[in-house]
Protein backbone atom coordinates (compact mmCIF):
# COMPACT_ATOMS: atom_id res chain seq x y z
CA UNK A 1 0.00 0.00 0.00
CA UNK A 2 1.21 3.56 -0.63
CA UNK A 3 2.83 5.10 2.43
CA UNK A 4 2.93 8.65 3.82
CA UNK A 5 6.02 9.80 5.69
CA UNK A 6 4.89 12.25 8.36
CA UNK A 7 7.35 14.95 9.48
CA UNK A 8 7.84 15.76 13.19
CA UNK A 9 5.67 18.90 13.26
CA UNK A 10 2.64 16.94 11.98
CA UNK A 11 2.95 13.86 14.15
CA UNK A 12 0.69 15.41 16.74
CA UNK A 13 -2.06 14.86 14.15
CA UNK A 14 -1.12 11.25 13.41
CA UNK A 15 -1.00 10.12 17.03
CA UNK A 16 2.78 10.13 16.93
CA UNK A 17 3.01 7.83 13.89
CA UNK A 18 5.87 8.61 11.51
CA UNK A 19 4.36 6.60 8.65
CA UNK A 20 0.75 6.06 7.61
CA UNK A 21 -0.43 3.61 4.94
CA UNK A 22 -3.30 4.48 2.62
CA UNK A 23 -5.25 2.74 -0.12
CA UNK A 24 -5.77 5.26 -2.92
CA UNK A 25 -5.58 5.65 -6.69
CA UNK A 26 -4.01 9.09 -6.72
CA UNK A 27 -2.42 11.61 -4.40
CA UNK A 28 -5.57 13.68 -3.97
CA UNK A 29 -7.52 10.64 -2.81
CA UNK A 30 -4.63 9.61 -0.58
CA UNK A 31 -4.74 12.96 1.22
CA UNK A 32 -8.52 12.65 1.60
CA UNK A 33 -8.02 9.26 3.18
CA UNK A 34 -5.24 10.47 5.46
CA UNK A 35 -7.54 13.27 6.61
CA UNK A 36 -10.45 10.89 7.17
CA UNK A 37 -8.29 8.79 9.45
CA UNK A 38 -6.48 11.67 11.13
CA UNK A 39 -8.64 14.79 10.82
CA UNK A 40 -6.70 18.02 10.25
CA UNK A 41 -4.17 16.84 7.69
CA UNK A 42 -5.98 18.25 4.69
CA UNK A 43 -6.11 21.75 6.17
CA UNK A 44 -2.42 21.63 6.95
CA UNK A 45 -1.36 20.35 3.55
CA UNK A 46 -3.73 22.09 1.14
CA UNK A 47 -4.86 25.69 0.76
CA UNK A 48 -8.42 26.92 0.24
CA UNK A 49 -8.14 26.21 -3.48
CA UNK A 50 -7.24 22.60 -2.78
CA UNK A 51 -3.63 22.98 -3.91
CA UNK A 52 -0.53 22.19 -1.82
CA UNK A 53 0.25 25.06 0.53
CA UNK A 54 3.20 27.29 -0.25
CA UNK A 55 5.37 25.84 2.49
CA UNK A 56 4.49 22.20 1.94
CA UNK A 57 6.55 20.03 -0.37
CA UNK A 58 5.12 16.67 -1.36
CA UNK A 59 7.56 14.14 -2.76
CA UNK A 60 6.30 11.04 -4.53
CA UNK A 61 9.17 8.55 -4.54
CA UNK A 62 11.69 11.37 -4.19
CA UNK A 63 10.20 13.51 -6.97
CA UNK A 64 8.59 16.86 -6.12
CA UNK A 65 4.98 16.38 -7.28
CA UNK A 66 4.85 19.97 -8.55
CA UNK A 67 7.38 18.94 -11.18
CA UNK A 68 5.00 16.20 -12.30
CA UNK A 69 1.24 15.74 -12.19
CA UNK A 70 0.69 17.35 -8.79
CA UNK A 71 -2.25 15.99 -6.83
CA UNK A 72 -3.37 14.01 -9.87
CA UNK A 73 -0.26 11.81 -9.65
CA UNK A 74 -1.36 8.17 -9.77
CA UNK A 75 -0.22 5.95 -6.92
CA UNK A 76 1.11 2.39 -7.09
CA UNK A 77 1.46 -0.15 -4.35
CA UNK A 78 4.96 0.52 -3.05
CA UNK A 79 4.85 4.30 -3.54
CA UNK A 80 6.14 6.53 -0.80
CA UNK A 81 4.85 10.07 -0.24
CA UNK A 82 7.08 12.28 1.89
CA UNK A 83 5.66 15.45 3.40
CA UNK A 84 8.53 17.91 3.85
CA UNK A 85 8.32 21.49 5.16
CA UNK A 86 9.67 23.75 2.42
CA UNK A 87 12.08 25.55 4.71
CA UNK A 88 14.09 22.35 4.98
CA UNK A 89 15.69 23.59 1.78
CA UNK A 90 19.32 24.55 1.92
CA UNK A 91 22.17 25.65 -0.24
CA UNK A 92 24.89 23.74 -1.94
Amino acid sequence: MPLFRIPGPLRSLSGGESTVEVQAEDLRAAIDQLDARFPGFKGRLLDDGGEPRQFVNLFLNDEDVRLGQGLDSPLADADEIAIVPAVAGGTL
Partner: protein, 420 residues
Protein backbone atom coordinates in the same frame (compact mmCIF):
# COMPACT_ATOMS: atom_id res chain seq x y z
CA UNK B 1 5.14 31.88 25.23
CA UNK B 2 4.96 31.40 28.99
CA UNK B 3 4.83 34.39 31.40
CA UNK B 4 8.12 33.18 32.95
CA UNK B 5 9.85 33.48 29.59
CA UNK B 6 8.47 36.94 29.08
CA UNK B 7 9.51 38.24 32.50
CA UNK B 8 13.11 37.03 32.22
CA UNK B 9 13.24 38.19 28.62
CA UNK B 10 13.07 41.82 29.69
CA UNK B 11 16.80 41.76 30.44
CA UNK B 12 17.64 39.85 27.30
CA UNK B 13 17.51 40.74 23.61
CA UNK B 14 15.98 37.62 22.14
CA UNK B 15 12.33 36.88 22.96
CA UNK B 16 11.67 33.69 21.03
CA UNK B 17 10.62 32.53 17.59
CA UNK B 18 7.67 33.80 15.60
CA UNK B 19 6.01 32.44 12.46
CA UNK B 20 6.43 34.84 9.56
CA UNK B 21 3.06 33.78 8.16
CA UNK B 22 0.61 33.33 11.02
CA UNK B 23 2.46 34.99 13.92
CA UNK B 24 2.35 31.97 16.24
CA UNK B 25 5.08 32.34 18.86
CA UNK B 26 7.44 29.67 20.10
CA UNK B 27 9.99 29.51 22.88
CA UNK B 28 13.63 29.54 21.86
CA UNK B 29 14.69 26.11 20.66
CA UNK B 30 16.13 24.42 17.60
CA UNK B 31 13.15 24.45 15.26
CA UNK B 32 12.47 26.17 11.99
CA UNK B 33 8.92 25.45 10.96
CA UNK B 34 5.57 26.57 12.33
CA UNK B 35 3.51 23.66 13.60
CA UNK B 36 0.28 25.42 12.64
CA UNK B 37 0.95 26.49 9.07
CA UNK B 38 4.44 25.22 8.12
CA UNK B 39 5.56 28.83 7.64
CA UNK B 40 9.17 29.78 8.40
CA UNK B 41 10.08 30.84 11.94
CA UNK B 42 12.05 34.04 12.56
CA UNK B 43 13.89 35.20 15.66
CA UNK B 44 11.82 37.75 17.60
CA UNK B 45 13.82 40.46 19.36
CA UNK B 46 13.07 42.81 22.20
CA UNK B 47 13.71 45.97 20.19
CA UNK B 48 13.07 48.21 23.18
CA UNK B 49 15.94 46.54 25.02
CA UNK B 50 18.11 46.76 21.90
CA UNK B 51 17.28 50.44 21.41
CA UNK B 52 18.60 51.17 24.91
CA UNK B 53 21.83 49.35 24.12
CA UNK B 54 22.79 50.05 20.56
CA UNK B 55 24.52 53.09 19.08
CA UNK B 56 26.94 53.88 16.28
CA UNK B 57 29.68 54.47 18.86
CA UNK B 58 29.11 51.12 20.55
CA UNK B 59 29.26 49.33 17.20
CA UNK B 60 32.37 51.21 16.07
CA UNK B 61 34.10 50.28 19.35
CA UNK B 62 33.40 46.60 18.73
CA UNK B 63 35.67 43.99 17.14
CA UNK B 64 36.61 44.28 13.44
CA UNK B 65 34.32 41.35 12.63
CA UNK B 66 30.59 40.96 12.10
CA UNK B 67 30.27 40.48 15.89
CA UNK B 68 30.40 44.26 16.28
CA UNK B 69 26.65 43.89 15.51
CA UNK B 70 26.09 41.36 18.29
CA UNK B 71 23.29 43.49 19.74
CA UNK B 72 21.31 42.62 16.60
CA UNK B 73 22.21 38.93 16.49
CA UNK B 74 20.48 36.07 18.37
CA UNK B 75 23.45 35.07 20.56
CA UNK B 76 23.11 36.51 24.05
CA UNK B 77 26.09 38.14 25.75
CA UNK B 78 26.74 35.24 28.14
CA UNK B 79 27.29 32.77 25.29
CA UNK B 80 30.86 32.70 23.92
CA UNK B 81 30.92 33.14 20.17
CA UNK B 82 32.67 30.74 17.82
CA UNK B 83 34.60 33.05 15.55
CA UNK B 84 37.34 32.93 12.94
CA UNK B 85 37.19 36.68 12.34
CA UNK B 86 34.31 36.55 9.87
CA UNK B 87 32.70 39.64 8.41
CA UNK B 88 33.68 43.30 8.27
CA UNK B 89 34.94 42.48 4.81
CA UNK B 90 36.07 45.28 2.47
CA UNK B 91 33.51 47.51 0.78
CA UNK B 92 35.44 48.40 -2.36
CA UNK B 93 34.63 51.45 -4.46
CA UNK B 94 34.62 50.07 -8.00
CA UNK B 95 35.72 53.01 -10.14
CA UNK B 96 36.91 51.07 -13.16
CA UNK B 97 33.98 48.66 -13.32
CA UNK B 98 31.69 51.61 -12.56
CA UNK B 99 33.15 53.58 -15.48
CA UNK B 100 32.57 50.63 -17.78
CA UNK B 101 28.95 50.35 -16.64
CA UNK B 102 28.19 54.07 -16.32
CA UNK B 103 27.89 53.99 -12.53
CA UNK B 104 29.75 56.72 -10.66
CA UNK B 105 29.01 55.33 -7.19
CA UNK B 106 29.39 51.59 -7.55
CA UNK B 107 30.63 49.55 -4.56
CA UNK B 108 31.43 45.87 -4.15
CA UNK B 109 31.04 44.13 -0.81
CA UNK B 110 33.83 41.59 -1.12
CA UNK B 111 32.66 38.71 1.04
CA UNK B 112 35.12 36.31 -0.56
CA UNK B 113 37.51 37.73 2.09
CA UNK B 114 35.85 35.66 4.82
CA UNK B 115 37.78 32.89 6.66
CA UNK B 116 36.57 30.09 4.37
CA UNK B 117 36.14 32.49 1.46
CA UNK B 118 32.38 32.78 1.28
CA UNK B 119 29.56 34.62 3.02
CA UNK B 120 28.53 31.32 4.65
CA UNK B 121 30.98 32.02 7.48
CA UNK B 122 28.62 34.72 8.76
CA UNK B 123 25.63 32.43 9.07
CA UNK B 124 27.57 29.42 10.31
CA UNK B 125 29.37 31.46 12.98
CA UNK B 126 25.97 32.48 14.40
CA UNK B 127 24.50 28.96 14.06
CA UNK B 128 27.45 27.22 15.72
CA UNK B 129 27.70 29.83 18.49
CA UNK B 130 24.00 29.48 19.27
CA UNK B 131 24.02 25.67 19.05
CA UNK B 132 27.07 25.29 21.29
CA UNK B 133 25.54 27.59 23.89
CA UNK B 134 22.41 25.41 23.83
CA UNK B 135 24.49 22.30 24.53
CA UNK B 136 24.52 20.78 21.05
CA UNK B 137 27.58 18.60 20.49
CA UNK B 138 27.15 17.90 16.79
CA UNK B 139 26.77 20.31 13.88
CA UNK B 140 25.51 19.05 10.54
CA UNK B 141 24.62 20.21 7.06
CA UNK B 142 23.78 18.94 3.60
CA UNK B 143 26.19 20.60 1.20
CA UNK B 144 28.91 19.96 -1.31
CA UNK B 145 30.50 23.36 -1.25
CA UNK B 146 30.57 26.62 0.65
CA UNK B 147 28.30 25.57 3.50
CA UNK B 148 30.17 22.29 4.06
CA UNK B 149 33.42 24.20 4.07
CA UNK B 150 32.20 26.66 6.70
CA UNK B 151 30.51 24.03 8.88
CA UNK B 152 33.63 21.84 8.89
CA UNK B 153 35.85 24.79 9.83
CA UNK B 154 33.62 26.19 12.57
CA UNK B 155 32.93 22.74 14.06
CA UNK B 156 36.69 22.27 14.31
CA UNK B 157 37.11 25.70 15.84
CA UNK B 158 34.37 24.98 18.40
CA UNK B 159 35.60 21.48 19.21
CA UNK B 160 32.27 19.99 18.12
CA UNK B 161 31.54 17.01 15.91
CA UNK B 162 30.87 18.04 12.31
CA UNK B 163 28.72 15.96 9.96
CA UNK B 164 28.70 16.89 6.30
CA UNK B 165 26.21 15.00 4.13
CA UNK B 166 27.05 14.91 0.42
CA UNK B 167 25.68 13.14 -2.66
CA UNK B 168 27.92 10.20 -3.59
CA UNK B 169 28.82 11.66 -6.99
CA UNK B 170 30.50 14.68 -5.39
CA UNK B 171 33.97 15.08 -6.91
CA UNK B 172 36.90 14.47 -4.57
CA UNK B 173 38.44 17.90 -5.22
CA UNK B 174 35.26 19.63 -4.05
CA UNK B 175 35.63 18.00 -0.66
CA UNK B 176 39.24 19.05 -0.09
CA UNK B 177 38.48 22.41 1.47
CA UNK B 178 35.98 20.86 3.89
CA UNK B 179 37.81 17.56 4.39
CA UNK B 180 40.97 19.11 5.79
CA UNK B 181 39.03 20.05 8.94
CA UNK B 182 38.28 16.33 9.45
CA UNK B 183 34.50 16.39 9.67
CA UNK B 184 32.52 13.16 9.33
CA UNK B 185 31.67 13.03 5.62
CA UNK B 186 28.58 10.96 4.90
CA UNK B 187 28.32 10.05 1.23
CA UNK B 188 24.71 9.37 0.30
CA UNK B 189 23.66 7.35 -2.75
CA UNK B 190 21.22 9.97 -4.01
CA UNK B 191 20.74 13.47 -5.38
CA UNK B 192 21.33 16.67 -3.45
CA UNK B 193 17.59 17.04 -2.79
CA UNK B 194 17.48 13.51 -1.42
CA UNK B 195 20.44 14.25 0.83
CA UNK B 196 18.67 17.33 2.13
CA UNK B 197 15.50 15.42 2.85
CA UNK B 198 17.47 12.68 4.59
CA UNK B 199 18.97 15.35 6.84
CA UNK B 200 15.48 16.53 7.85
CA UNK B 201 14.72 12.96 8.86
CA UNK B 202 18.03 12.46 10.69
CA UNK B 203 17.34 15.71 12.53
CA UNK B 204 14.15 14.22 13.96
CA UNK B 205 16.02 11.16 15.27
CA UNK B 206 19.17 12.71 16.73
CA UNK B 207 19.94 15.73 18.92
CA UNK B 208 22.01 17.43 16.23
CA UNK B 209 22.04 21.02 15.04
CA UNK B 210 21.65 21.17 11.26
CA UNK B 211 22.76 24.61 10.17
CA UNK B 212 20.36 25.03 7.30
CA UNK B 213 17.44 23.12 8.87
CA UNK B 214 16.56 23.19 12.58
CA UNK B 215 18.84 26.09 13.52
CA UNK B 216 17.95 27.99 10.37
CA UNK B 217 16.19 30.88 12.18
CA UNK B 218 19.45 31.68 14.01
CA UNK B 219 21.73 30.84 11.10
CA UNK B 220 19.79 33.14 8.77
CA UNK B 221 20.25 36.14 11.06
CA UNK B 222 23.98 36.16 10.33
CA UNK B 223 23.22 37.38 6.80
CA UNK B 224 22.01 40.72 8.13
CA UNK B 225 25.55 41.74 8.99
CA UNK B 226 26.39 42.18 5.30
CA UNK B 227 23.93 45.04 5.08
CA UNK B 228 24.82 46.44 8.52
CA UNK B 229 28.47 46.64 7.48
CA UNK B 230 27.65 48.10 4.09
CA UNK B 231 25.74 50.95 5.74
CA UNK B 232 28.48 51.59 8.28
CA UNK B 233 31.19 51.52 5.61
CA UNK B 234 29.21 54.02 3.52
CA UNK B 235 29.31 56.39 6.50
CA UNK B 236 26.11 55.21 8.17
CA UNK B 237 23.84 55.46 5.16
CA UNK B 238 21.98 52.87 3.16
CA UNK B 239 22.76 52.57 -0.54
CA UNK B 240 20.11 53.31 -3.16
CA UNK B 241 20.16 49.75 -4.46
CA UNK B 242 21.74 46.40 -3.58
CA UNK B 243 22.23 43.53 -6.04
CA UNK B 244 22.04 40.18 -4.24
CA UNK B 245 22.41 36.60 -5.51
CA UNK B 246 19.38 34.39 -4.87
CA UNK B 247 19.53 30.73 -3.93
CA UNK B 248 16.87 29.88 -1.31
CA UNK B 249 16.14 33.60 -0.93
CA UNK B 250 16.95 33.38 2.77
CA UNK B 251 19.73 35.97 2.54
CA UNK B 252 17.63 38.40 0.49
CA UNK B 253 14.87 38.45 3.11
CA UNK B 254 17.42 39.21 5.85
CA UNK B 255 18.79 42.23 4.01
CA UNK B 256 15.37 43.81 4.08
CA UNK B 257 15.14 43.09 7.79
CA UNK B 258 18.65 44.48 8.37
CA UNK B 259 17.89 47.72 6.54
CA UNK B 260 14.62 48.11 8.44
CA UNK B 261 16.40 47.57 11.76
CA UNK B 262 19.00 50.23 10.93
CA UNK B 263 16.23 52.70 10.07
CA UNK B 264 14.04 51.86 13.07
CA UNK B 265 16.94 52.10 15.51
CA UNK B 266 18.07 55.43 14.06
CA UNK B 267 21.49 54.09 13.11
CA UNK B 268 21.12 55.51 9.59
CA UNK B 269 19.40 58.67 8.38
CA UNK B 270 16.32 58.66 6.20
CA UNK B 271 13.23 56.52 5.88
CA UNK B 272 13.74 54.63 2.66
CA UNK B 273 14.75 51.02 2.30
CA UNK B 274 17.28 50.37 -0.45
CA UNK B 275 15.89 48.88 -3.64
CA UNK B 276 16.66 45.18 -3.31
CA UNK B 277 17.43 43.47 -6.61
CA UNK B 278 17.85 39.71 -6.99
CA UNK B 279 20.20 37.84 -9.33
CA UNK B 280 19.74 34.31 -10.64
CA UNK B 281 21.29 32.09 -13.29
CA UNK B 282 18.86 31.31 -16.11
CA UNK B 283 19.83 27.66 -15.61
CA UNK B 284 18.13 27.77 -12.22
CA UNK B 285 15.74 30.73 -12.16
CA UNK B 286 12.54 29.82 -10.32
CA UNK B 287 12.33 33.21 -8.61
CA UNK B 288 13.08 35.13 -11.82
CA UNK B 289 10.37 33.09 -13.60
CA UNK B 290 7.81 34.03 -10.94
CA UNK B 291 8.90 37.68 -11.08
CA UNK B 292 8.52 37.77 -14.85
CA UNK B 293 5.10 36.13 -14.68
CA UNK B 294 3.98 38.64 -12.04
CA UNK B 295 3.19 36.01 -9.42
CA UNK B 296 4.50 35.21 -5.96
CA UNK B 297 3.88 31.54 -6.55
CA UNK B 298 7.33 30.12 -7.25
CA UNK B 299 7.32 26.88 -9.20
CA UNK B 300 10.28 24.53 -8.70
CA UNK B 301 12.73 23.82 -11.52
CA UNK B 302 15.50 21.28 -12.09
CA UNK B 303 18.78 23.20 -11.77
CA UNK B 304 21.24 23.08 -14.63
CA UNK B 305 23.87 25.78 -14.23
CA UNK B 306 27.54 26.29 -13.46
CA UNK B 307 26.45 28.54 -10.58
CA UNK B 308 26.05 25.48 -8.38
CA UNK B 309 26.40 27.26 -5.06
CA UNK B 310 23.10 29.06 -5.69
CA UNK B 311 21.32 26.34 -7.68
CA UNK B 312 18.25 25.67 -5.58
CA UNK B 313 15.35 24.51 -7.69
CA UNK B 314 12.77 24.87 -4.93
CA UNK B 315 13.70 28.05 -3.03
CA UNK B 316 12.01 28.20 0.36
CA UNK B 317 11.98 32.00 0.54
CA UNK B 318 11.36 32.57 -3.18
CA UNK B 319 7.94 34.15 -2.82
CA UNK B 320 9.27 36.63 -0.25
CA UNK B 321 12.00 37.66 -2.66
CA UNK B 322 9.43 38.51 -5.34
CA UNK B 323 7.39 40.53 -2.83
CA UNK B 324 10.35 42.40 -1.33
CA UNK B 325 11.86 43.22 -4.73
CA UNK B 326 8.53 44.70 -5.80
CA UNK B 327 7.89 46.58 -2.56
CA UNK B 328 11.34 48.16 -2.45
CA UNK B 329 11.43 49.06 -6.16
CA UNK B 330 14.01 46.42 -7.05
CA UNK B 331 13.82 43.78 -9.78
CA UNK B 332 14.77 40.15 -10.27
CA UNK B 333 16.98 39.49 -13.29
CA UNK B 334 18.80 36.44 -14.64
CA UNK B 335 21.83 35.77 -16.84
CA UNK B 336 23.05 33.01 -19.16
CA UNK B 337 25.99 30.71 -18.47
CA UNK B 338 28.09 32.71 -20.93
CA UNK B 339 27.17 35.97 -19.21
CA UNK B 340 28.20 34.47 -15.85
CA UNK B 341 31.70 33.63 -17.09
CA UNK B 342 32.00 36.98 -18.91
CA UNK B 343 31.09 38.75 -15.66
CA UNK B 344 33.72 36.83 -13.67
CA UNK B 345 36.30 38.08 -16.20
CA UNK B 346 34.85 41.60 -16.27
CA UNK B 347 35.18 41.90 -12.49
CA UNK B 348 38.66 40.39 -12.40
CA UNK B 349 39.94 42.57 -15.28
CA UNK B 350 38.61 45.81 -13.85
CA UNK B 351 38.85 45.42 -10.09
CA UNK B 352 41.32 42.64 -9.29
CA UNK B 353 38.63 40.56 -7.58
CA UNK B 354 38.23 36.89 -8.52
CA UNK B 355 34.76 35.63 -7.71
CA UNK B 356 33.05 32.26 -8.01
CA UNK B 357 30.16 31.60 -10.40
CA UNK B 358 27.59 32.94 -7.92
CA UNK B 359 29.49 36.25 -7.95
CA UNK B 360 29.47 36.00 -11.74
CA UNK B 361 25.68 35.85 -11.57
CA UNK B 362 25.54 38.96 -9.38
CA UNK B 363 27.98 40.98 -11.48
CA UNK B 364 26.37 39.65 -14.66
CA UNK B 365 22.97 40.94 -13.53
CA UNK B 366 24.51 44.25 -12.44
CA UNK B 367 26.09 44.66 -15.88
CA UNK B 368 22.93 43.60 -17.71
CA UNK B 369 20.76 46.07 -15.81
CA UNK B 370 23.31 48.89 -16.17
CA UNK B 371 23.58 48.37 -19.93
CA UNK B 372 19.78 48.31 -20.20
CA UNK B 373 19.72 51.79 -18.64
CA UNK B 374 18.31 50.99 -15.22
CA UNK B 375 20.37 53.70 -13.52
CA UNK B 376 21.10 57.32 -14.39
CA UNK B 377 24.63 56.91 -13.00
CA UNK B 378 24.56 58.84 -9.73
CA UNK B 379 22.85 56.21 -7.59
CA UNK B 380 24.85 54.45 -4.88
CA UNK B 381 24.71 50.82 -6.03
CA UNK B 382 26.25 47.95 -4.06
CA UNK B 383 26.77 44.40 -5.35
CA UNK B 384 27.34 41.57 -2.87
CA UNK B 385 30.22 39.37 -4.06
CA UNK B 386 29.67 36.32 -1.90
CA UNK B 387 32.39 33.78 -2.71
CA UNK B 388 35.94 33.36 -3.98
CA UNK B 389 36.80 32.41 -7.56
CA UNK B 390 39.12 29.55 -6.64
CA UNK B 391 36.01 27.64 -5.53
CA UNK B 392 34.86 27.36 -9.15
CA UNK B 393 38.15 27.98 -10.95
CA UNK B 394 37.30 25.34 -13.57
CA UNK B 395 35.02 27.72 -15.47
CA UNK B 396 37.96 30.00 -16.35
CA UNK B 397 40.74 27.42 -16.09
CA UNK B 398 41.76 27.83 -19.73
CA UNK B 399 42.28 31.59 -19.44
CA UNK B 400 45.86 31.70 -18.17
CA UNK B 401 47.02 29.10 -20.65
CA UNK B 402 45.36 30.84 -23.59
CA UNK B 403 46.95 34.19 -22.71
CA UNK B 404 50.51 32.97 -22.38
CA UNK B 405 53.37 33.75 -24.77
CA UNK B 406 56.02 31.10 -25.28
CA UNK B 407 59.61 32.35 -25.53
CA UNK B 408 63.20 31.12 -25.35
CA UNK B 409 65.19 31.95 -22.18
CA UNK B 410 66.91 34.87 -23.94
CA UNK B 411 66.40 38.61 -23.89
CA UNK B 412 66.23 38.60 -27.69
CA UNK B 413 63.39 36.14 -27.71
CA UNK B 414 61.60 38.20 -25.07
CA UNK B 415 62.02 41.41 -27.12
CA UNK B 416 60.86 39.67 -30.28
CA UNK B 417 57.72 38.18 -28.79
CA UNK B 418 56.72 40.79 -26.22
CA UNK B 419 56.02 44.24 -27.59
CA UNK B 420 56.35 46.79 -24.80
Amino acid sequence: MSPETLSTASTRRVLGLRCRECGTEYELRATHVCESCFGPLDVAYDYQAIRRLVSRERIEAGPPTMWRYRDLLPVEDDAPVVTLGEGFTPLVRAERLGAELGLRNLYLKNDSMNPTNSFKDRVVSVAVSWARAQGFETIGCASTGNLANAVAAYAARAGLEGYVFVPEDTEAEKLVAAGVFEPNVVSVRGTYDEVNRLCSQVMEELPWAFCNINVRPFYAEGSKTLTFETAEQLGWRLPDEIVIPIASGCQFVRHRRAAQELLDLGLVEGQDLPRLTGAQALGCAPVYNAWREGTERVRPVRPNTIARSIAIGSPSDGSYVVRIARETGGVVEAVTEEEIVDAIRLLARNEGIFTETAGGVTIGVLAKLARAGRWNGDEVVVAYVTGHGLKTADVVSGDGFARRLEIEPSLRSFRERVSV
